[in-house]
């Protein structure tokens, strides 16, 4: 037996109070009797006939002590592990994230958690109407079994659950669980997890009846938490592969890092991972064709899922940029310097816009008669179908805010940038505002249909921006962001558990996906679909997709620092002020304070009855 609030044992200090009360008990009524002899005989005989009568004088004391003890026990909220349950509705949330694959528990954390959850199922008081729901929180929350008292079904649901390579998506599962028990005052959520869960602050103010069953003991893990491939800035013919390797142990670890291209080992290096730190690693590799780089960290640890990561690397393609302008040398130079592969074409006339020949079109204060279908930087032009309401003019609007977390504004600052004039528009639904004046957004990035658009609401020549260093950086960012190849490269790297999305340029009806395990899944695509979506990426690795005649590959990776940190948490932080402590008990905890409180009441009633019987 254990106690959820052992602090309540301080109430045990009230036990001596009863003794004091007993000492101060009411006076006996004094009566003169002819002789006490008969009474002595009587007492002697009754004592002789009942051995427990030795305690006769202390019955009340004992009852009161018992009563208090029961109340104290109830306050301490005792629970037994794996015994008969009485919660009417228990929602079992089984964490199936990658960290649950850790083998510090035998055979693994997930198996352990499953075992405990099964024990909880066994303890379900189905005869008393107890019900259970099984939720598996992997890449997404999945209700594997809706509320039932059928133990076999619950057991089947738990046994069918599979651990994934995805990061924890517990908030979603808890949200589902919470809605299930919201109107059930007797409902309880039982979370079986290692506690490697990021943000749960949304549950802070809700009275979440959550019982956290912690699994996991060790934190022996090192893993790849970031993996990216870029053109090598020093040598355009080569590729630079950037890796971040996290070591969550308190001791440095020696490891070997292997790099393979399309399954062929091309490089290896020995690396020392500093304790509780992230170590960067860089590979430079030449690449002759599109393919998949796979990095493998060879190290002794408990979690294998994060020791491998893949990235799809496409050969760099030239970026064809068309600048339509009446003359803007700043922009011209910035575009020309935007990247090693930029092929800049200039046109003073919008009629030069040729669909499909250019990856990015820059409209600098020129409104074309026919709007290009490709990705677009639109400077100081405002097609009326982009914005609702009228488009106005602003005089020297101040820049009050910008969003430098967006990739477009990486390393971009608008300090000491002044604008003479700007267009005033309402924030559109198709994009997000990256820079604001008080009255209007000044910079918007978004997607209109299959078209990616960066809209600049002012003429750069009527501002001090081109004179600032942030301008060429922004243009380089914008070209990179608008380059379809970059977008494609991003698309080809998904986190396991997240859906792979590919915009379709031409209609496709048939597709097949080959998973990392070699299984081929045929997919039917609706003819009017604008994108191809594949959601079953719970297993990390390289997925190969055949879209019509098109063959491509994408990689699903864990790449999650929080998930790599497999140190089991003792508490779940729900926001800053709320915590859920892990029950040290491995099994289900079933609280018994109600029974103790009930027994206390029974004792009290019994005492009352006794009192009246003896004095009636």
């Amino acid at each position: 037996m254990n106690f959820l609030t052992p602090l309540a044992f301080w109430f045990a200090l009230s036990l001596p109070v009863v003794v004091v009360f007993y000492l101060l008990k009411r006076k006996r009524v004094t009566r003169v009797v002819p002789s006490t002899l008969l009474w002595q005989r009587f007492l002697a005989e009754t004592q002789a006939s009942a051995p427990m009568q030795r305690l006769r004088h202390n019955w009340l004391l004992l009852l009161q002590l018992l009563l208090l003890l029961l109340l104290v026990l109830a306050l301490a909220r005792p629970f037994f592990a794996g015994k008969a349950g009485f919660g009417r509705l228990q929602v079992v949330v089984l964490d199936a994230s990658a960290s649950m694959q850790a083998v510090d528990e035998i055979p693994s954390r997930f198996e352990r958690a499953r075992k405990e959850a099964l024990a909880l199922v066994d303890s379900l008081a189905s005869g008393k109407g107890g019900q259970m729901v099984v939720l598996v929180a992997g890449a997404n929350a999945e209700v594997r079994q809706s509320a039932t008292s059928e133990k076999a079904a619950l057991r089947r649901a738990l046994e069918g659950a599979k651990v994934t390579d995805s990061p924890t998506r517990l908030a979603e599962a808890l949200r589902v669980a919470e809605t299930l028990i919201r109107d059930r005052p007797d409902g309880e959520i039982h979370l079986f997890s290692d506690g490697a869960i990021p943000e749960l602050a949304e549950f802070e103010t809700r009275d979440l009846r959550l019982v956290f069953h912690k699994v996991g003991r060790g934190s022996r893990n090192a893993g790849i938490v970031a993996f990216d491939v870029k053109p090598n800035p020093e040598d355009v013919a080569k590729r630079a592969l950037f890796l971040s390797l996290a070591n969550h142990q308190s001791i440095p670890v020696e490891a070997r890092l292997e790099l393979a291209f399309d399954g062929q080992l091309i490089d290896t290096k020995s690396i020392t991972l500093a304790a509780t730190n992230t170590t960067p690693a860089v590979f430079i590799a030449s690449q002759s064709r599109d393919g998949v780089f796979t990095a493998r960290l060879v190290v002794e640890d408990d979690l294998a899922a994060d020791n491998q990561a893949s990235v799809v690397s496409l050969l760099p393609q030239p970026v064809r940029v068309l600048l339509v302008t009446r003359g803007n040398r700043f922009l011209e130079k910035a575009l020309a310097a935007a990247g090693p592969n930029v092929e800049l074409a200039l046109s003073a006339d919008h009629s030069a816009v040729d669909e499909g020949r250019h990856d990015v079109v820059v409209l600098d204060d020129v409104a074309p008669s026919e709007w290009p279908k490709g990705n677009l930087i639109a400077i100081h032009v405002a097609p009326t179908n982009w914005f609702e309401g009228t488009i106005g003019e602003l005089d020297s609007p101040p820049i009050v805010n910008w969003r430098n977390t967006h990739p477009l504004l990486r390393f971009v600052s608008f300090d000491s940038v002044q604008l003479a004039k700007a267009l005033s528009v309402k924030p559109p639904s198709w994009g997000i505002s990256l820079m604001d004046a008080p009255q209007s957004p000044l910079l918007i990035a978004g997607d209109i249909g299959r078209q990616r658009v960066v809209w600049v609401g002012f003429d750069t020549l009527e501002s001090t921006w081109p004179l600032r260093i942030s301008f060429p950086i922004f243009i380089a960012n914008a070209v990179d962001w608008l380059n379809p190849a970059t977008a494609k490269a991003e698309q080809f790297l998904v986190k396991s558990g997240e859906a792979f999305r590919l915009p379709l340029t031409s209609p496709v009806t048939e597709a097949t996906v080959t998973g990392p395990d070699g299984k081929v899944h045929p997919v039917t695509v609706a003819p009017q679909a604008s994108e191809f979506v594949w959601g079953d990426t719970g297993v990390q690795g390289v997925y190969r997709v055949q879209l019509g005649t098109n063959r491509l590959a994408f990689a699903a990776n864990l790449l999650d620092a929080a998930e790599s940190n497999i140190r089991p948490r003792e508490t779940l932080d729900l926001g800053r002020f709320t915590q859920v402590k892990a029950t040290t008990e491995k099994d289900a905890n079933l609280e018994y304070w109600r029974w103790f409180a009930l027994a206390g009441l029974a004792v009290m009633l019994g005492e009352w009855w006794w009192f009246h019987r003896r004095t009636a």
Binding site: R31, V33, P34, S35, A616
Partner: protein
Amino acid sequence: MAGILTPQILRRLEQFQLIAARRAKSSAKGERRSRARGQSVEFADYRNYVLGDDLRYLDWNLFGRLDRLFLKLYEEERELPVRIFLDASESMAFGLPAKFDFARQIAAAIGYVALCGFDRVSVHVFPEPQAVQESELAGYTHQMAIRGALRGVRGKKSSLQYFSNLTALRVGGVADFNSAMKRGVLESRQAGVAVVLSDFLDPAGYEPGLMALVGRGFQVNAIQILSPEELDPSTFGDLRLVDSETGNLQEVTFGRYRLAAYRQSVANYVQRLREFCQARGAHFFSISSGEPIEDLLLRQLRTSEMWG
């Protein structure tokens, strides 16, 4: 009749006579058969004439038939000393009616029957009254005088005085049952009928006292008087009981549910006393002071052949 007994009872009592299982041993003449041979109308035995015998008692008819001299012997009739041991301790003052009132009614009745039968009645009232203060001295002397007068009563004509003396008795003090019995035994020159009127609730026990009476040859009649409250307590709750005589404290928690156990306990006590008496040839009666006295006097004592 001083109100101690109703005239109806007295009339009934006059018909009774104490039955002595043993022959009277008193030296005084009375109306009881005794072992002593002497003058009476009751023929007892013959014996051979020896020189010097009174010739008036020769059986001349036998002499004529057998030609031998026999002397006719007659039983001497003696009185039967009746000793009444009356417990006048503090504990006897309890009960409704008081146990002592009940006891002295019995004493009066037995005394009356004895007096009617020309037997000598002596009442031993114990304990001795205590005079501790000057102001109580008059009462003390009066009590002592009454007790002295009760020591020897004879003749039916003394019964009125006997009754008024009994009525004037006051209770008080701590009884020492055993020593009172032993002293009574020592004081009695002849054994006779002994009637012990007490509640037999002496912490020191009753066995030595009763044994002394039986051993002296008394025909013992033990009459235990208990008050209804003692037999059937009506106060419940957390009680601190004070012994009226010894002042002992006894804390007890009592409720209706223990009433049966208490009754059983009292019954056990009475039964032990009864067995003790019966084992020694003594009569034993236990009566509640709340019961009608007629039942004891006219039925119980009669059926147990104390009188008839």
